[in-house]
């Protein structure tokens, strides 16, 4: 029997009375690209935080290639090959674009190799022009790219992207979609996004979260036609 890349079972976290993630069973196969959608407050970012160790689950487990990583610390999970671009950008603001990527690459590699890998990713993401700019002074869309580049420089095997296209121009959104498909040739991704155009560009299978629980998980075309999905996005029906 093949072991999935990522599997959560009964994954739950409560903040006081709020159950932000509720008994989620989620399975991702090797090299899969999954989109995760859901209205504001559905628990998508919290789910990512549970996967990356930024939060500890109240109940349930996370398995990465069969290994239980529930409750492990962020750096331990990162070392197992999970990389994340968070919703609120997490970058090294006072450092240059180049240094941001270098720090990521340096974790696995020698300084010289890290420099080469940094240059390669700068070229791939077309960031060479701004390589020596301080990240704190860049526009939001560019900071998103820097963070994606930083994640890539860490060479993870599973990449989580929380709203990668937010704040980008139409042209940048298309480039991001292309990039995700390019990355997916060799690695698995889970992408959270609100932009349905963007989802249509990249998605095969979509998982919908609603009030912390999985509402539906199916092929993109069927999910977007589903009446329940429309209802939760319009904010009626299921809440009752």
């Amino acid at each position: 029997m093949n072991v999935p890349l990522l599997q959560t079972s009964g994954l739950t976290i409560r903040f006081g009375g709020v159950t932000a993630v509720d008994q989620v069973d989620f399975t991702l196969e090797e090299a899969e690209l999954r989109c995760l959608i859901g209205p504001n407050g559905a628990g998508k970012s919290t789910f990512f935080k549970l996967l990356t160790g930024q939060l500890r689950p109240t109940e349930g487990h996370v398995h990465l290639r069969g290994r239980d990583i529930s409750g492990a610390r962020p750096h331990e999970i990162a070392r197992q090959g999970v990389g994340i671009k968070t919703q609120v950008p997490n970058v090294f603001n006072a450092m240059t674009v180049q240094d941001n990527l270098w720090i990521a690459a340096r974790h696995k590699h020698t300084p010289a190799f890290a420099t080469d890998l940094t240059d390669k990713i700068l070229t791939d993401l077309r960031l060479t022009q701004i390589a020596n700019k301080e990240v704190g002074q860049l526009a939001h869309g560019q900071r998103q790219w820097v963070e994606i580049g930083t994640v890539l420089a860490g060479e993870p095997e599973l990449i989580l992207l929380d709203e990668p296209a937010a704040g980008m121009t139409h042209e940048e959104v298309e480039r991001t979609a292309d990039l995700i498909q390019e990355i997916n040739k060799s690695r698995a991704l889970v992408v959270v996004e609100h932009d349905m155009q963007f989802i249509k560009m990249i998605a095969k299978t979509v998982t919908v979260l609603h009030q912390g629980a999985v509402l539906i998980e199916d092929d993109v075309a069927r999910v977007l036609e589903d009446a329940r999905v429309r209802d939760v996005y319009l904010g009626k029906g299921l809440a009752a």
Binding site: T52, Q54, R73, P74, H75, A78, R79, G83, I84, T86, N90, V91, F92, N93, A94, M95, T96, D99, W102, I103, A104, R106, H107, K108, P111, N132, E134, T150, G154
Partner: protein, 344 residues
């Protein structure tokens, strides 16, 4: 590449200062040499906080704990051994061990930055009270009586390594202290330019991001804290060597506050800044003290307020920005923007 250029500049600057230090006894009188010696010892202490706060993002309110422990370790060891070389080693080792234990509980215990400040301050006060209450014959380590609030007088000063009969003259002690300051400065420059240095700066910038890339922020912070303890302890030995005396006031609140003021005024996030801040303010306090017309603490407070309001980045970063702006204006097309990143 730009870091290399910055390093060359630091080396040239250090060489010039080293020559000035070595030749100073030729044109400066003994009283001033003594004064410069204590200034330099304090500047080493300023570097210790400038490093852990400016680069490691750790605001330690009790850097005097390590300074004082280093000073006492030196005094006790020098009295017992009659030789300063192993005493200097202990003045570094004991504060490092103390920093490792204290840092481990604070950093691995996951307390917030604010509480770290409070705890380190409290620890320095505890040490003050502890050492203050060691008067009497009962409290002695080997031949060294701790002496409570009276302190330990007559501490042997530095001798030539391997020759405890050759005691350094005040001029030689000055050269040793001045060169020690330069070596600590250059050592920290090298450290900051290394992978370790770049990683601790990254952790200072965004601890979450660093952890999500696989770095354990705790071990990096702990090592940074211990390096700060080592340098502060070494400064303690330099300080005792200057006065041949140590007392519990070395742990007192006033000095803890002063170190922070030196760093703020000189410029956090640089190494030269804390040195400049320390030398400048010590000189000022000495001048004011000589005049006896004004209260030194009052002036210090006023200067701090003026800086926080008008020069919030501190002297060194502000000067650097001015120079860079000037260069960029003079040759707008050819200006090498990468040099803006050079940290002093």
């Amino acid at each position: 590449m730009h870091q290399l250029n910055g390093m060359t500049g630091a080396l040239i600057g250090s060489a010039i200062v080293a020559i000035a230090i070595l030749t100073a006894p030729l044109y400066v009188d003994l009283f001033q040499i003594m004064q410069l010696t204590v200034f330099a010892a304090m500047a080493v202490l300023a570097l210790s906080l400038g490093f852990i706060w400016g680069y490691g993002g750790i605001l330690c309110f009790g850097q005097t704990s390590f300074f004082g422990l280093g000073a006492y370790a030196y005094a006790v060891a020098a009295i017992n051994f009659g030789d300063s070389t192993p005493a200097i080693a202990l003045a570094i080792l004991i504060p490092v061990i103390f920093a490792a234990l204290l840092g481990y509980f604070m950093i691995y215990g996951g307390i917030s930055d604010v509480y770290l400040g409070v705890i380190t301050l409290t620890v320095s006060l505890i040490l003050f009270n502890l050492v203050n209450s060691t008067a009497g014959d009962f409290y002695k380590i080997g031949d060294a009586r701790l002496g409570g609030f009276n302190g330990i007088p007559g501490v042997p000063t530095f001798n030539l390594p391997g020759n405890s009969g050759y005691i350094l003259s005040p001029e030689q002690a000055w050269m040793v202290t001045g060169i020690a300051l330069i070596l600590v400065y250059l050592g920290l420059r090298v450290l900051i330019a290394s992978s370790f240095g770049r990683i601790i700066i990254a952790i200072r910038e965004n601890e979450t991001r660093a952890a999500l890339l696989g770095y354990d922020p705790r071990i990096y912070k702990l090592i940074t804290f211990m390096i700060g303890g080592a340098i502060a302890g070494f400064a303690g030995a330099l300080y005792v060597n200057w006065g041949a005396f140590v007392s519990p006031t070395i742990f007192a609140l006033g000095l803890s506050a002063q170190i922070i003021i030196w760093v703020i005024i000189g410029g956090r996030g640089t190494l030269i800044g804390p040195v400049i801040g320390c030398l400048l303010l010590q000189w000022l306090v000495t001048e004011i003290g000589a005049q006896q017309a004004l209260d030194a603490n009052f002036i210090l407070g006023a200067i701090l307020i003026v800086f926080v309001l008008l020069v919030p980045k501190g002297i060194a970063p502000t000067l650097r920005d001015l120079v860079m702006a000037r260069l960029a204006r003079d040759k707008p097309m050819t200006a090498d923007t990468t040099t803006v990143k050079v940290k002093t």
